[in-house]
């Protein structure tokens, strides 16, 4: 099980150039969910990088247009919604998909009004995430 983000970053840096797909980033504080998503993507030979919080993602990752970032709305420290705004404001911004296990009123409260970010609600199945990775 991956406890830290660093080894995963390494994985994607090593594989990035060998695959035609963009990189899939996961920002999720729950260690099991983070690991399960990473395992699932790796089993499909997709390159991915997982982060436990928004701060480490912003400092270590450099997402591009072909990439996808799955962001849990309920993050410690930098809020998921703030992270989404920051990433969406990047030049060459990647596709962003929010994930949440929260009740609807919290999601609508937290998600910036103007954002058109799709939200996948937990519990989820792999197809709920993979639908955003079709090229």
């Amino acid at each position: 099980m991956r406890q830290s983000a660093a080894p995963l970053c390494f994985v994607f840096l090593a594989t990035r150039t060998t695959l035609g797909f963009g990189v899939i980033y996961i920002v999720e504080d729950d260690v099991s969910v983070r690991d399960a998503i990473a395992e699932m993507l790796e089993s499909l030979d997709l390159s991915c990088a997982a982060f436990a919080d928004g701060e480490s993602f912003l400092s270590d990752a450099s997402p591009r247009m072909d990439d996808t970032v799955f962001v849990d709305l309920h993050l410690p420290g930098l809020k998921g919604s703030d992270l989404i705004e920051k990433v969406a404001a990047l030049d060459d911004a990647p596709q962003i998909v929010a994930i949440s296990g929260q009740p609807l009123w919290k999601i609508t409260r937290d998600l910036p009004k103007k954002a058109t970010t799709p939200v996948v609600r937990k519990p989820l199945r792999e197809q709920d995430l993979l639908i955003y990775l079709q090229t």
């Binding site: 969910v33 690991d35 399960a36 009123w105 919290k106 519990p123 989820l124 199945r125």
Partner: protein, 368 residues
Amino acid sequence: MVSSSCLHSVLDTAVNGIIVIDDNGTILIYNRACEKMFGYKSAEAVGKSVNTLMPSAIARQHDKFIRNYLKSGTPKVVDIGREVVGRHQDGTEIPIELSVGEAQTESGHQFIGVLKDLRATKEYEERLRVLQSNLVTMTRVNALDEMGAAIAHEVNQPLTALMLYLQTAARRSKGADQPDEALISLMDKAVVEAERAGHIIQRMRNFVERQAPQCIGTGLATLIDDCLELVRVGHEADDVEFISTFADYNYQLELDSVQIQQILVNLIRNAGEAVKGQPVKKVVISVETNDDNVFVKVMDTGPGLDKEAVPHLFKAFTGTKRRGLGIGLAISRSIAQNHGGDLLVEPYEEGKGATFTLRLPVNSKATS
């Protein structure tokens, strides 16, 4: 001796309306409080019949009331008082608390009425009632919302991880050089079960978020069998007999199967608890239908329900069980009502156990 002007001043100072009539019902005295209550000025009212101040249905009978009393001497309102309805000049009906006294005077028999305007009280009571019922609803919804959200969120995380691990494992075992068919079958079953758990959470969340039930055609007999299967798991050692007498496996009903299953499992499980320690331990599920409704009955051979307990059965947080919040039946009834049905308990019969009836409407699309 009190002077006439002093008497008038007393009348006009009184907070309550005061009216004096003669035995023909003609108004002799009509104080200031009455002017406010009925809209008529004293000068307009005095000399008129007191019937003017009543809705027509009562006004028509009032003369008779007076005659009857004078003849029989049996008071209906004199010295008793009652709540009556008056009529304002503009036609509005006014709830009034009326007390009536009488006096024999030189000029004949007179009646004295003291009137208290109940409008403010009534409005207050009504508002209080609405507030209280809102509060009950709010408390229930909030408790559900918070609890549901807490459970959903706590269970969501491991469930999400579980689902993804299982799907990944299933894919890996399918892609192996020598696929183990038995293992693959087990993995697929595990995925289905994880999905079912996910559905329950989603339904619970939907319930809280007040979304309409997701109705699809469902075989009622199979649904009942599934419920029994679920309940039997916990009762293997208790030798409780769970029986369904409904065997029409072609009977389809438009309903949200997860929600209805929740109700039935709840009812059957309660019934299973109730028969513990009884000489006959039996829970029977039967189905009756008519043109408009399907009635699913859950009968047990338990001691039956206490008469005192029945009115509180469906209220949240009033359960008598040590475990749980006592919201099971309250939720179940709400779900049934969301489906346009209801959840009822049959009246107690000596020597019989309890029977709960789940009524569900037969939709036009439902077929038999």
